[in-house]
Amino acid sequence: MTRVRQIGESVLLTLILASVALAGGFQLNEHGASAISQGGAFAARASDASAIYYNPAGLGFQSNGSIMLGATGIDPTISFYGPLQDNTNAETKMNSQFFTPINGYVVYPVMDRLMAGVGVYNAYGLGTDWPTDWSGKNLVTKVNLKTFWFTPTLAYRVSDELSVGAGVSYVSGTLLLEKAAPFDSRVTLDMNAHGWGFDAGIDYKPLPRLTVGLSYRSQVKVDAGGSAGFVPLIPVLPEGGVSSTITLPATGYAGVAYKFSDELTLEADYQYIGWSSYQNLTFTFTKDGSTQTAPKNYSDTYILRVGGEYLMGCMKLRAGYYFDHTPVSDPYVDPLLPDASRHGLSAGIGMNITDHLSVDAGYLFIKFLDRTVTTTIPATSFDGTYKSFANLFSLDLGYSL
């Protein structure tokens, strides 16, 4: 009897946030058109102002101040086939969306060997927009996560072969989440989040043609707070304040670039992402002090990147490829973010328009591996196949001083 009562009293909240979560691939690695064009294999060279993201030490080998402004347009196409629990593989298409993470960097030589810079970019972000009446509406209908990173950075060229750099990041973000709630209500969580992190890097040229780079970006614990709204408002639902703490994972790059000729440079990077920091997502509601925890159990993972650049007159032709391994195991895959391992194929060009003004344009095609999950956890109970691909267009304007 006691058991029955306990279940009864906990069920309301369980229903609301059974699987509210941020999911696997909400990391964004697209922070400069040149890097994007080369499969993101850029941490060794870090040869433009986007070094503030990829490897701050790269700034040390840059002799001039510069300004770089740009954005990436992301156009994903995502479908779910299922749920298999209903003995169906009917397709649900995610509503079309278009995201435009931005990047802006300013770099200035403070004195000989010492460069200072500041960057603003979106290192984590996510958007999900399913039809409001789809069969997974009790899991999620809409998510919009944005994080803005403001990163003052210093880099010091120790010698002609060695540079080091470091930065501090202030992270400010917003999270919007919508889904169906008990009693045919609809819940919207609207939260703001803040946190601090740091990064450091080293760039070394053991041979004239060889560059090796390492960079590390700390995990960032963001404290989020905001409001939970229900429409219609049902008195038993925890309307009002809601808070959470989310740890954005640490990430590190190890890159090797080799200049095969005056025209051709190739680079290969290994990127590590410490997703195991993301084990649970817990929300606390102010109204009744209740908490809800959704297990995520992500694993540390990696991305392998190769890319290069070919100089052709005033043009730089670029291409690259990466493989991104999902941090999410089958039981924890849900439509909040239908994560899967993916291939990325990219190409792009760079041109100097004047002595000071340059433009970089890139295109990246991402093909997610088809992912069929048949063992989702009970709180999700939503098996099926996710198929996704995305087109990304990136443009940066540079002005060197």
């Binding site: 009897m1 006691t2 029955v4 009562r5 279940i7 009864g8 009293e9 069920v11 309301l12 369980t14 229903l15 059974a18 196409t77 995502i78 479908s79 086939y81 299922g82 749920p83 629990q85 209903d86 003995n87 169906t88 593989n89 009917a90 397709e91 298409k93 009446d133 789809w134 069969s135 997974g136 509406k137 009790n138 899991l139 889904k179 169906a180 008990p182 009693f183 045919d184 049902i234 008195p235 038993v236 052709m312 007159g313 043009m315 032709l317 190409a347 060009i349 295109y363 095609f365 088809d370 069929t372 009970p378 709180a379 999700t380 109970s381 939503f382 196949t385 198929k387 691909f389 087109n391």
Partner: protein, 482 residues
């Protein structure tokens, strides 16, 4: 620069190809179908659970989500040509309470309390009355296994002592289609029959606290009637697919599990609830503080009386028209706490009565399994399923169901009959059993597409749901004397 131009053009072409040429295509997966079988006519036989009865009333907006109607919809998706599934619809707010004449349907009347009960609305009326054939849904609220082959004139069954006018609503012309549920079924020549009778053969006993009737249908009689019912169906329709639902333990439903814990939390320290055991009318012969391993279950019909615990009251005797108090009863004593003013037998299923009900369910289910096997019928283990819901809940696509009253999402405001979504969950148990038994591939009902229970329960000032006395007249009609 020519090379550069070519490079740009090549890149543009590559992008255009990638961008335009890529689309997601369906993976191989379940393909809806009936494996070559033809199901042109589906008929459901049962009681209130089959009729789509909900929140203490029969009304069209709940009948739309009766599990047979949902099954019929899914059969159509699997390619069956069942057409419109015809039901004896009764317009909202539904059927009347036999005593008050007002709609018996429970609604949320007030957040304070909260108060749940009939709103005193003018009842609805039958709205599908010109069908020139029997209804496809032959679920009759209150029906017992005996009724399937009972050839008593239905106007007689609608009158005293049974007083169940719903026989008249559900069964079309006796002259044209016959007096028995079997004859009306046969007249439709179904390819598929779902048969879920027998619940009331034990639930009537249990829901009345073991008072009216004072015993479940005897097992030998139940077994004989069940074998006769399914055997007759099989004999008359040799090729019909018969799917039978077994009987859940009555203790799995919130009608029995809601009030006990609340009363337990209200008991003064050191005192126990004094109650009457089976058949007792006088001084309490049972006492509980609900900490024993198998405590008595308090019926939801006790909701109007639970708040009176400890008060000197004879309200229950007044409400039930006792001309004089039974011997030994003293209503000046604290109600429920003094043995001389005990919690009445009719509002409690004591451990002995629970054992009686459980033994009957086990025996009935054993008979159902045996009879089904002998007649090539598929069994839907509703008992096993609801038992699992009671223990660990049921989750699908982010929706959680438990056996809790109202907040559990599975059972409607009467604590016995499923909600719209709960009805979908039941329908899916039938579909899963059919798919397994016949090799069919019927898609399941998308539970998220069904209305949730939109009448939530908040914790009231005293923690009890306030259900006014007299709200259970419909219940007495369903399971009263026969």
């Amino acid at each position: 620069m020519n090379v550069t131009k070519y490079g740009i053009v090549a890149l543009a072409v590559a992008i255009a190809l990638l961008y335009g040429g890529c689309k997601n295509t369906a993976p191989s997966g379940p393909i809806a179908g009936l494996g070559g079988a033809t199901v042109g006519k589906y008929v459901s036989i049962g009681n209130s659970l089959t009729a789509g009865y909900q929140s203490n009333g029969l009304f069209a907006s709940a009948q739309a989500y009766s599990y047979p109607n949902l099954i019929a919809g899914q059969l159509a998706r699997a390619g069956s040509s069942v057409g419109t599934f015809q039901q004896p619809l009764y317009s909202d707010p539904g059927t009347p309470d036999p005593t008050t004449g007002k709609a018996s349907r429970y609604e949320l009347i007030s957040w304070v309390g909260p108060v749940i009960g009939p709103r005193g609305l003018t009842p609805g009326s039958p709205i599908n009355t010109t069908l020139p054939r029997p209804y496809d849904n032959l679920g009759i609220p209150g029906a017992v296994i005996f009724d399937f082959l009972d050839s008593t004139d239905i106007t007689v069954k609608a009158g005293p002592p049974r007083s169940n006018p719903l026989f008249l609503l559900v069964m079309r012309s006796q002259a044209a289609f016959g007096k028995t549920l079997f004859q009306q079924t046969f007249a439709l020549h179904p390819d598929l029959v779902t048969f879920w009778l027998g619940n009331n053969d034990v639930l009537g006993f249990a829901a009345s606290g073991g008072v009216s009737p004072n015993a479940p249908t005897p097992t030998p009689i139940f077994t004989a009637l069940y074998a006769q019912a399914i055997g007759t169906l099989r004999g008359a329709l040799p090729n019909v697919k018969i799917v039978v639902g077994n009987i859940p333990y009555v203790t799995a439903i919130p009608f029995f599990t809601t009030l006990g814990p609340k009363i337990m939390s209200k008991l003064p320290t050191g005192l126990a609830l004094q109650y009457q055991k089976h058949g007792t009318t006088g001084i309490a012969d049972g006492a509980t503080n609900f900490t024993e391993s198998n405590p008595p279950l308090i019926c939801l019909t006790g909701a109007p009386y639970a708040p009176l615990l400890g008060q000197p009251t004879g309200k229950w005797y007044t409400d039930n028209g006792y001309p004089a108090l039974p011997a030994g009863i003293d209503t000046t004593k604290p109600f429920g706490l003094d043995p001389r003013n005990p919690w009445p037998d009719a509002l409690v299923l004591d451990p002995t009565e629970q054992a009686t009900a459980t033994a009957s369910v086990q025996a009935f289910n054993s008979s159902i399994a045996t009879v089904a096997a002998a007649n090539h019928a598929v069994v839907v283990d509703i008992n096993g399923f609801l038992g699992r819901v009671l223990v660990s809940g049921y989750e699908t696509a982010g929706i959680s169901f438990t056996s809790a009253y109202v907040s559990g999402g599975m059972f409607s405001l009467d604590g016995i009959h499923p909600t719209d979504q709960g009805s979908g969950v039941i329908a899916n148990q039938f579909i899963l059993a059919m798919n397994a038994g016949y090799g069919w591939s019927i898609p399941l009902v998308d539970i998220a597409s069904l209305p949730a229970l939109t009448v939530p329960l908040s914790k009231g000032s005293n923690g009890y749901p306030v259900i006014p006395e007299g709200a259970f007249g419909e219940l007495k009609m369903l399971w009263g004397a026969r």
